[in-house]
């Protein structure tokens, strides 16, 4: 059996014997129509895809920064896998945003050629992690919130968003499991690990309020995040209780990433993320 490219061979189900590694890969968007369906506003769809795509892209970048710095080799691969899952979601969402926008911008143009004020991610995604406890606290909050979001996205009238939601929910279920496992392990660990895990949860918590402040685009897309606040609260309470940690009160600070208001950290992320593309426009290798 011959193939024009290695990917074709890997997606072939009847040719297992040739491969030492796994086969039977699938394209989550195979056969999904890409026209914007009637009844969906293209501008809103583009704006919403940008929000979700930027959340995934920036969170993925922050996770990638842990590669070579993780406390154990096994966790380094786990974190890299999670970063790759989110990068995959970002690629699909930014591609969809470009299609719906209709101005010829592809995923690369959107990822590499926008400035900080044009990014629509929540500020939780851009926060740096001073230590591993902060990383797992932030990942737990992010994954719990995003999983509830993706579950609803799977019912979207836009078939592409629905497919991304269904695919992403399986991935993010594992991200939440990974983060919750570590929060429990460190929280219900030694005195020192509990103290540091609690400090991390306390530090991340003020950024949770923004996750549930609905944007008008989210409301028009019937994806108002306040609808899954109760689900988020229930999961967080359960994990923090098992972890013997105190749930912080309050939890909101001024600023709104969905409107392009970002912390100073965003500029440093974009400098690293976009440097190559901007310094070698059109570069191929």
């Amino acid at each position: 059996m011959s193939f024009d490219d290695a990917y074709g061979a890997l997606t072939d189900h009847d040719d297992d014997a040739r491969w030492a590694y796994g086969t039977g890969f699938t394209d989550p968007l195979a056969g999904v129509p890409t026209e914007v369906p009637a009844g969906v506003d293209a501008a809103d769809l583009a704006a919403y895809c940008l929000m979700l795509g930027d959340d995934a892209l920036i969170m993925s970048h922050r996770l990638q920064q842990w590669v070579t710095r993780a406390p154990e080799l096994e966790d380094e691969v786990a974190i890299a896998n999670i970063a790759l899952d989110l990068l995959g979601q970002a690629r699909l969402l930014l591609t969809r945003a470009g299609e719906a926008e209709g101005e010829g911008r592809d995923e690369d143009a959107l990822a590499y050629l926008r400035d900080a004020t044009e990014f629509r991610n929540v500020r939780l995604a851009e926060r740096s992690d001073p230590d591993f406890a902060h990383l797992v606290a932030r990942l737990l909050v992010f994954a719990t919130w995003r999983l509830a979001l993706l579950d609803r996205l799977a019912g979207s009238p836009d078939p592409v968003l629905a497919a991304i939601g269904a695919k992403g929910a399986k991935e993010v279920t594992y991200h939440r499991e990974y983060a919750a496992g570590w929060v429990v392990r460190l929280g219900d660990g030694t005195d020192l690990s509990r103290q540091r895990m609690q400090a991390a949860v306390d530090a991340v918590w003020p950024l949770t309020g923004e996750l549930f402040r609905p944007h008008e685009v989210e409301q028009r897309m019937d994806m108002d995040p306040s609808a899954w606040r109760a689900e988020f609260d229930a999961v967080m309470t359960e994990v923090l209780t098992v972890a013997t940690l105190r749930r912080p009160v309050g939890g909101d600070v001024a600023g709104y990433g969905r409107d392009g208001e970002h912390t100073d950290e965003m500029a440093a992320i974009l400098a690293e993320l976009q440097n190559l593309k901007r310094s070698v426009p059109g570069g191929v290798w």
């Binding site: 796994g22 154990e72 786990a78 896998n81 594992y174 496992g181 392990r185 030694t190």
Partner: protein
Amino acid sequence: MTGEIKHEWPLFEVFVRAKRGLNHVHVGSLRAADPQMALHHARDLYTRRNEGVSIWVVRSDDVTASEPDDKAMFFEPSGDKVYRHPTYYAIPDSVPHI
């Protein structure tokens, strides 16, 4: 949690089953604090290219292995007993993994 804090996680052996109907096959080892974490790490390290549908993890120090010095006694006696193979049966094409 009380007791001594260990600075190195124990070693686990990982077995992956590629698809229904096949056996679990040893694929490697990893370090983890407990069996549940070992299972997660095995998923991340050994099934990220779609290699498996089931994983077993076993503490390496729970594995009892044969001694290389016992090779003559253990394995060589079966070397000349070809009649132990069921060679007179025709194997159907639809049974590939026998």
